[in-house]
Every structure is written in structure tokens, then in C-alpha cells.
């Protein structure tokens, strides 16, 4: 399953939907909001997406993973809007008959989401804010 939502991510439900009695290993990744970036104290984060395209790419990614590692079932969910420190921004779940592949496939999903999917993150600090990934003239 894939999900892009402004609501809190229901981790247990996503894991339950992905698991199965033929899969002995389940690897779950949670991305959570850290209280600092480098040494800057974070107040909160804002996530924004090009919704329909992000959904399309996540579906494609899950299909690719399930084809690359046969027997696997995968899910990805990403939250949008304002997220507070400690909240969960993304969930990736891979259920697999074999655990080594579950780790690889879940890591692959997380890498791809970060590099490919049109979702943006703004970090808001006490002293200002920054859209992550954008290079400024001072970089």
C-alpha cells in the first residue's frame, strides 16, 4: 500500500497490512523529526508534496521493489503539513520470507523516496527557515 496524508501515520496499521503468514521477517523504517540539524535547534518542520505525482512514484517504487525481490510485500507512507519534534514523517515497511532481503529492500525504498519523490521539507529554526536540498549562493 502507499499513502500520502496530512494525518498522523498509523504505523501499526501499515505494518499489519504489509505482513503475511508466509513472511517471516518484517523490517520497518520510521523517519522522525529531530530536535536539531547540525547544531541548530529545530522548532518544527513543514512537508509539502506534488501529491498526484508523489503517489504515482511511490506506487512505481513499491512495484519495482516487489519485482526486484520476489516474495516481498512493501508499503510506504509519507505525512505532509506541519510536524512537531518526535513525530513520524515517513514509514516504509517490507515483509519478506527472508530477512536479509527485507533489510536491503527497506533501505532501498528509503533512499529512493529521498532522491526521487516530489516531496519537500522546510526546517523552521528559532533564527529562520530553510527548504532542505536547495543550494544557496553561500553553499
Amino acid at each position: 500500500m502507499i499513502l500520502i496524508t496530512h494525518d498522523k501515520l498509523a504505523v501499526e496499521d501499515i505494518v499489519s497490512e504489509t505482513r503475511g503468514n508466509d513472511k517471516g521477517g518484517v523490517v520497518t523504517f520510521l523517519g522522525t523529526i529531530r530536535d536539531t540539524t547540525d547544531t541548530n535547534r529545530v522548532l518544527y518542520l513543514e512537508y509539502e508534496a506534488y501529491g498526484p505525482m508523489a503517489e504515482k512514484l511511490l506506487k512505481k517504487l513499491v512495484a519495482e521493489v516487489e519485482r526486484k525481490w520476489p516474495g516481498i510485500r512493501a508499503s510506504v507512507a509519507h505525512r505532509l503539513g506541519r510536524l512537531e519534534i518526535g513525530e513520524i514523517s515517513m514509514v516504509a515497511v517490507v515483509a519478506s520470507p527472508h530477512r536479509a532481503e527485507a533489510f536491503k529492500a527497506c533501505n532501498f525504498i528509503v533512499d529512493q523516496v529521498k532522491s526521487d519523490v516530489p516531496i519537500w521539507k522546510k526546517e523552521v529554526f528559532e533564527t529562520g527557515e530553510v527548504w532542505v536540498g536547495l543550494q544557496s549562493s553561500s553553499d
Binding site: 523517519g31 508534496a49 514523517s89 515517513m90 523516496v113 519523490v117 519537500w120 527548504w131
Partner: protein
């Protein structure tokens, strides 16, 4: 022709709108769209060089043609997921 262009994140904030109508020639490419947006919104400055474009929800090269009915989106560097 008039192409409606979606904007996101830093770009949306600078431009002040989630979509803008841009006038380009009927044989315009993705490169021409970025150029026209940069000229109209000089404030996007250095961001312009970091944009890629999606046409009908596919990433395309700068030479890709653009048509009036296309869904065109300016995509600044993505940063979803987790570090």
C-alpha cells in the same frame, strides 16, 4: 500559447502562488519554460538552475517539448523522507 505551471516549496513561496500562467511560443521546450519563469520572477535567482521539470507527472529533459494541455510542474530539489 499559455502554459500553466505548478510551483512548489521555495519556488511557490517566492512566486507567491502555487501555479502561474506563462506565455511561451508554440514550439517551446522545457528549457524555454524555465527561462520565461526566471525572467518574469527574477527573485527565484539561483533556484532556477536547480529546477527540473515534470510534464504530465514524468521527469523530462530540458529539450522536451511542452504543449498547452500538458500538466507542467517546476520541481526544486526534493527532500522528503529522512536524512
Amino acid at each position: 500559447m499559455i502554459v500553466t505551471v505548478k510551483t512548489f516549496a521555495a519556488l511557490r513561496e517566492i512566486i507567491g502562488s502555487a501555479s502561474v500562467a506563462i506565455d511561451v511560443s508554440s514550439d517551446a521546450s522545457v528549457r524555454d519554460v524555465i527561462k520565461a519563469v526566471s525572467e518574469r520572477y527574477p527573485g527565484i535567482g539561483i533556484i532556477a538552475s536547480q529546477i527540473i521539470i515534470a510534464v504530465n507527472m514524468e521527469y523530462v529533459s530540458f529539450d522536451h517539448p511542452v504543449h498547452e494541455s500538458d500538466e507542467v510542474a517546476l520541481i526544486p530539489p526534493v527532500s522528503g523522507g529522512s536524512k
